[in-house]
């Protein structure tokens, strides 16, 4: 066995006995991921919910693994247990996963708190959870060796069994747990070599599928707590508006309505069931102080972006773009624009809270347990150990559930009424009170020199900043990295590159949206690259390959996607292909889209996707995430647009913010590059290349570049 790891000195493991005689192993993932040695400090929380146990092995051989990351479709409830189970050498058929409570020991080492986002779960937990699994396996081996009175080196494991090699004696894990629970944390353990993996790299079935086939999976919307009432909240249609007055007399007449209370967000109508609460809200007579944003509209926002675009701060300046421009044989210029987008999770926002004097419980589909706990503390004055966060299944997340607005609403209402409250947002609430993917305006210029080389590239971005709202100290020199990713670091070998960013606070709340800056910048850069290729008289794939010599992983996915898609081979009349590539979240994805125009609308027939996400945990989940990202990205490319008038979001539901339907979905093929690199993310990287792949296909088809999303022909 290859890699030897220090266990006891690093102090990330805690061994204990479970009720009924099982073994409990607590893991401090953040400490485990650290190279320095720091003591675990969860002592204060142990007594209350005893959540500091990632692994429970029962005398009946059952293995329960707690998952501190949020399952929103990306498969984390399967991937995280696979990491532990592999090194534990667990029998997968005996593994169950449960959602962990909010607790510091579930801190994602990349993010620094318990949070699911940025496609970081496998990346963050890859090392710590494998180490913890290996240490637990070592513990079970020690228990068996003691029992047999042999050396641990004479023992090995098969799934959920320790074996004495010489004698062939076997003990099941369940037979060893009581003894193992009394042992000290092992000093060292060994990680498997990849060729010894039994689970990692295989498509073991997702653990959450059965519950999602028969109605038993509990989403936030489905939470039921004794004595619970349902709340629907009236909020000001204009961002930042405040309540002026409310007349609730008619609302209170409605059968089933119990209370009407004011909270920071507006007015909550609380009822026995949703239907009464919603009708109660409809019956409120409300007046708002709409505030400064009351005149905001899309044209005005666009004008602000246009005005700012040339006065941005420099984010990158290689060589001398101006000089190259002056010496150019050919110059191209273009403006690219992308709109605000809503997340439109299939499950609208919701949260259930029960605030008592000395403690608070919430049941919530959240990506941010740590943030939720912190915010509840702010609004109740309770200490973290008195705040219990139960994470449910998430009916989609995409960054929207990184927020906590819905949590605060439920907590504020329950605090006033003293009973459990489930706040349910309608689709209209969800669409009009989102934090939107930023709209941006991009001025692009490129120069081709006498030799036909792409000699200069300038990208000026103007747009609102996510960090300005959620993490202002993260803005350095006026630059928000989330707005610059995949623009600042375009991978092409171009001698003169300038990238700038003008931060424009447009008054619309913006937030993380699946693949964040890559969702817009890859469209802009990969489409403008095709314009440059055409100006240089080169095939878009050939020019990419030529300028990506220093980026073998980009090139490999491009070549694989192109080959599988039959790049350069004839297509039926009226069809064309487009290609795009991007690195995001430590993974590399290229896509080829085959497109035609039917009744004036683009039709995407086929998408071929190649992905290099490093070492693969579960290929079937990787493929599903690529399919998912492609469909999600197609909705944005072909349909998605949030606009404002009089300070109000004009879209309200799926009738005016449509999503792609099955009859518009292309055939999708996913090809995974085999790799020994550390794992990359998979939840987001499927999204960025699809819009430019489709747009580039349309450009090839019509000769007119597509420079604005959503695509209108």
């Amino acid at each position: 066995m290859a890699e030897r790891i220090e266990v006891s000195r690093r102090n990330f493991l805690k061994i204990g006995a479970a009720l009924g005689g099982g073994l409990l192993v607590g893991i401090d993932a953040a400490a485990c991921g650290r190279k320095d040695i720091a003591p675990v400090n969860n002592a204060g929380q142990q007594g209350i919910f005893a959540p500091n146990a990632w692994i429970r092995i029962g005398v009946d051989d059952s293995i329960t693994l707690l998952v501190g990351s949020s399952e929103m479709g990306q498969g984390v409830m399967t991937a995280i247990p696979m990491l532990l189970a592999e090194e534990l050498d667990a029998d997968w058929a005996k593994v169950r996963a449960e959602f962990a409570p909010a607790h510091a020991s579930y801190t994602n080492p990349i993010i620094g708190r318990q949070h699911t986002g940025g496609s970081t779960s496998v990346r963050g937990f890859w090392q710590p959870l494998r180490e913890a699994g290996a240490a637990t396996r070592e513990l079970l081996i020690q228990a068996a060796a003691q029992r047999w009175n042999v050396k641990t080196a004479e023992c090995s494991t098969e799934p959920s069994v320790v074996i004495h090699n010489a004698s062939g004696r076997r003990l099941r894990y369940g037979e060893l747990v009581e003894q193992a629970a009394k042992l000290a944390v092992p000093e060292t353990a060994f990680l498997k070599e990849p060729k010894q993996f039994r689970l990692l790299g295989t498509s073991v079935p997702r653990l959450d599928t059965p519950a999602k086939l028969n109605g038993t999976a509990v989403f936030g919307q489905d939470v039921k707590v004794p004595g619970m009432l349902i709340a629907v909240v009236a909020r000001c249609a204009v961002f930042g508006g405040k309540l002026k007055s409310v007349d609730a007399s008619a609302a209170k007449q409605i059968k089933g309505v119990r209370h009407v209370v004011e909270i920071d967000a507006g007015v909550a109508v609380v009822a026995d069931h949703f239907w009464a609460a919603q009708r109660g809200r409809d019956a409120l007579k409300l007046e708002w102080n709409e505030g400064a944003a009351a005149t905001l509209d899309s044209a005005q926002i666009r004008a602000a972006l246009v005005a700012a675009v040339d006065s941005g701060k420099s984010a990158r300046n290689d060589g001398d773009v101006n000089q190259a421009w002056q010496n150019a044989a050919k110059k191209i210029e273009a403006v690219y624009e992308v709109p605000y987008l809503a997340h439109a999770c299939m499950e609208p926002m919701n949260c259930t809270a029960h605030v008592r004097k000395d403690r608070c419980e919430v049941w919530v589909p959240t990506q941010g347990q740590a943030t939720a706990q912190h915010q509840i503390g702010r609004h109740t004055g309770l200490k973290p150990e008195a705040i219990q966060v139960h994470t449910t299944f998430l009916g989609g997340g995409f960054g929207r559930r990184s927020e906590y607005d819905f949590v605060v609403e439920a907590v504020q209402i329950s605090k006033q009424l003293g009973v459990p409250i489930k706040v349910i947002w309608t689709r209209e609430d969800d669409m009009q009170h989102d934090v939107y993917r930023p709209a941006t305006y991009n001025r692009m210029t490129a120069a081709i020199d006498q030799q036909g080389t792409l000699s200069a590239w300038q990208h000026r971005i103007a747009g609102p900043s996510i960090f300005a709202r959620v993490y202002p100290t993260g803005i350095k020199d006026g630059l928000d990295v989330t707005s610059l990713e995949n623009a600042q670091n375009i991978p092409y070998a171009i001698p003169n590159v300038a990238v700038s960013y003008a931060l424009v606070n447009a008054g619309v709340p913006v937030g993380f949206w699946r693949s964040v800056g890559a969702s817009q910048n890859v469209f802009v850069t990969e489409c403008f690259f095709d314009e440059a290729a055409r100006a240089a008289g080169k095939d878009p794939l050939a020019l990419r390959r030529e300028l990506l010599k220093a980026h073998p992983r980009h090139r490999a996915v491009l070549e694989l996607a192109a080959q599988k898609a039959g790049w350069g081979t004839p297509l039926p009349a009226g069809r064309a292909r487009g290609i795009a590539v991007a690195e995001s979240f430590a993974s590399f994805v290229a896509q080829v889209a085959e497109v035609s125009i039917e009744h004036g609308v683009p039709r995407v027939h086929r998408v071929v996707c190649a992905v290099d996400c490093g070492m693969v945990v579960n290929p079937n989940i990787v493929a599903a995430q690529m399919e998912s990202g492609i469909i999600f990205g197609l909705t944005a490319a072909l349909k998605g647009e949030i606009t404002l008038a009089k300070g109000r979001v004009q879209q309200s539901n799926f009738n005016d913010y449509p999503l792609l339907r099955i009859d518009e979905a292309p055939r999708i093929e996913v090809h995974i590059v085999s790799s020994t690199d550390p794992p990359g993310g998979v939840g987001e990287p499927g999204v960025p290349p699809i819009a430019p792949a489709v747009a580039n296909a349309l450009y090839a088809l019509t000769g007119t570049p597509v420079r604005k999303l959503p695509i209108r022909i």
Binding site: Q74, G215, F219, W275, C345, F632
Partner: protein
């Protein structure tokens, strides 16, 4: 009081005549497998079968359902053994899972009417149910697989 026949059982519900079936199921009967996604018959996640036909529970008042047989995801089979559920498991269709009750019931209704559907039949029948996670490619595969299961069980 109104009587609803859900999954083969009669239930008395204390609901106004105009209460949508969705909320009677979810909030009065505790059958939360049927989801709320839009409330205006646009997303299909609230789909239930009424006398075998897919219907949007969010816009169907309970008063319209007297004497009709309502099937929700909880009642499609006792043990997830319906061919559509088997096929969904084999193809690992669900991601977040939120839309899947609507997808599965719609697919079950399609196969009941058209046991061997073409790709065009599938697209047409399934178009009312949105999936934000993009499980459409797998839904197509799973319906073809379910059709095979149905066929084999008939011949076997």
């Amino acid at each position: 009081m109104l009587t609803l026949n859900v999954n083969g059982k009669s239930h008395e519900v204390d609901a106004d005549a105009d209460m949508p079936l969705l909320w009677a199921l979810r909030d009065l009967l505790g059958l939360t497998g049927t989801k709320f996604g839009c409330g205006i018959a646009q997303c299909g996640v609230c789909t239930v079968l009424v006398d075998g036909v897919p219907l949007r529970a969010c816009v169907t008042p309970v008063s319209a359902l007297a004497g009709k047989k309502i099937t929700t995801i909880e009642g499609l089979s006792a043990d997830s053994s319906h061919p559509v559920q088997q096929a969904w498991l084999a193809e690992e269709v669900p991601q977040c899972g939120f839309c899947q009750s609507g997808q599965i019931l719609t697919a079950a209704a399609l196969l009941a009417k058209t046991p061997q559907p073409t790709d065009a039949d599938i697209d047409q029948a399934m178009a009312p149910v949105l999936c934000r996670c993009g499980t459409y490619p797998r839904i197509r595969l799973a319906i073809q697989r379910a059709a095979k299961i149905v066929k084999e069980s008939r011949h076997g």
